[in-house]
């Protein structure tokens, strides 16, 4: 029994139980979704959305409105601002995104650091899994359920589009619509994930598990399942680390996720010649 104490300890505390549930829900759906984020090269776009929504979060915190509402509005404003700025061909999408996101993060910090605002900037930037509310947990559960169903339903069109967009078009798939649906799902995931990990760290949930499993999964379906498992396990590992080492919970979760990505990226496999010789 003593041996299991380090594992059971956090479960005896209500706060840590909720934090574990939050990161397992977020880690599983974002870990699966992350496969498509990486394949469709949306990591920079996702990072931009998660950072650019900061003013929305701050305004919601100032107004006492639900943070999810602020995050959703912030994502919409950030996406629209990036789209407008990127239309200028002299700027180009990367520079436009960089400037808009920096401007939005600056605006968010400005709002949050004004004298009469509540001292929550740190929480909004780095997340506070230990402070998740009931509504945060419900949002994460809805995202995990609805997002999982969407990924299941869109799996074949997403695969056909990612593999060969032109050929998918000839099969009657609408690649533009499929990618738009994916972007919508990413935006929703970002808006919910910032409740747990904050504007700066939530990208780790979306990208790290996918990078951890990418080189090891033989099919898209398995990569999604493996990403979900890695996301949930690494997220939980972060909460345990935080509990036992007394480190900040959000940062510990992000560190555990990135450690998983680094482990997965290592050259684990034996050389091809050794594989075929033993096969």
């Amino acid at each position: 029994m003593d041996l299991l104490d380090p594992l059971l300890d956090p479960l005896r505390s209500g706060i840590d139980r909720r934090a574990l549930l939050e990161v397992v829900l977020l880690g599983s759906i974002c870990g699966a979704l992350g496969f498509w984020v990486v394949v469709e090269r949306l990591a920079y776009a996702s990072e931009s959305l998660s950072h650019g929504l900061l003013p929305g979060l701050v305004l919601a915190a100032l107004a006492g409105a639900p943070l999810l509402l602020g995050a959703a509005a912030g994502v919409a404003v950030a996406a629209a601002a990036i789209a407008v700025a990127a239309r200028d061909p002299r700027i180009g999408p990367e520079a436009a995104t960089g400037v808009v996101v920096t401007g939005l993060v600056g605006l968010g910090a400005l709002l949050a650091l004004s004298p009469d605002s509540p001292q929550r900037l740190e929480e909004l930037l780095f997340g506070d899994p230990l402070g998740v509310s009931d509504s945060d947990l419900i949002a994460a559960a809805v995202l995990a359920g609805a997002g999982g169903l969407t990924l299941f339903a869109l799996h074949r069109p997403l695969s056909a589009t990612a593999f060969d967009a032109g050929g998918a078009g000839a099969l009657g798939v609408r690649p533009g619509l499929v990618r738009l649906a994916l972007l919508g799902l990413v935006a929703a995931a970002v808006a919910v994930a910032v409740q747990g990990l904050g504007a700066l760290l939530s990208l780790a949930l979306l990208v790290a598990p996918a990078l951890a499993v990418r080189r090891h999964a033989p099919s898209a379906g398995r990569a999604l399942v493996a990403g979900a498992v890695v996301g949930a396990l690494a997220g939980a590992a972060g909460i345990y680390l935080s509990h036992h080492a007394g480190t900040a919970a959000g940062a510990s979760v992000a560190a555990a996720l990135c450690a998983a990505a680094a482990l997965g990226a290592m050259p684990w496999r034996r050389p091809a010649s050794a594989r075929s010789a033993s096969a």
Binding site: V39, A153, L154, H155, R156, P157, S159, A160, A162, F163, D164, A165, G166, G167, A168, G169, A170, L171, G172, V173, A217, P218, S219, A220, A223
Partner: protein, 249 residues
Amino acid sequence: MSAPRVEVDDLAVGYGGAPALTGVSFTAAAGESVCVLGPNGGGKTTLFRALLGELRPLTGTLSVAARPAYLAQTERTRLDFPVNALDVALMGALAGGPWWRPPSRAAREAAEGALERVGLAGRAGVAFGELSGGERRRALLARALVQDSPVLLLDEPLAGVDPASADLLDSVFRSLRDEGRTLLVSTHDVASAARFDAALCLNGRQVAFGAPAEALTRATLEATYGHELIVLRESGAERMITIQHHHEH
């Protein structure tokens, strides 16, 4: 003769700006194969994109009996995407069945059958990126076969393919025509055109359409290919070949 599967009348299409292809009029019936000849930039792929519904006619009309199956000329497939040959063939079932459900058992059987038909039965589980160039083309043809369309558009299907794969692909095309399907095949290979029921010569406009023996005169081919045409004389007989420029576009 039954109603044409593909009917094009005075078609002009383009990409905004001047039309890339004008004055195209031809028909193709069930069980007919049409060879589409022309230089690079002559409008072969543009015609296929119009038949696929990706380009709207600027003038004229076109009608195709069903959504055509398409084998693209340039490979734009992602070789790093984790799919095997069977997965690729199964994608063809997206054209017919509900896209939100996993493929049916019938679709799976069709995909296995298509792989067998293109000689990849033993390679079903191999990652697409690890197949040879010719095998990849055959896997993409299997995807088109699973689509089970009465009309197939094959854009330079034999270009850059190893001889063994080319022979196999050619025999599949013949059997598809024998099944009563309509095939439009673009090619640079003037000599192979004689094996088709009809030849369509394009060079920004329609130069000729008709039975190969009548349509492919030296004058027609010169108007089609211009400087890309080389005439060889071997013991009195003329043989015409074209210079091929491989390009990505």
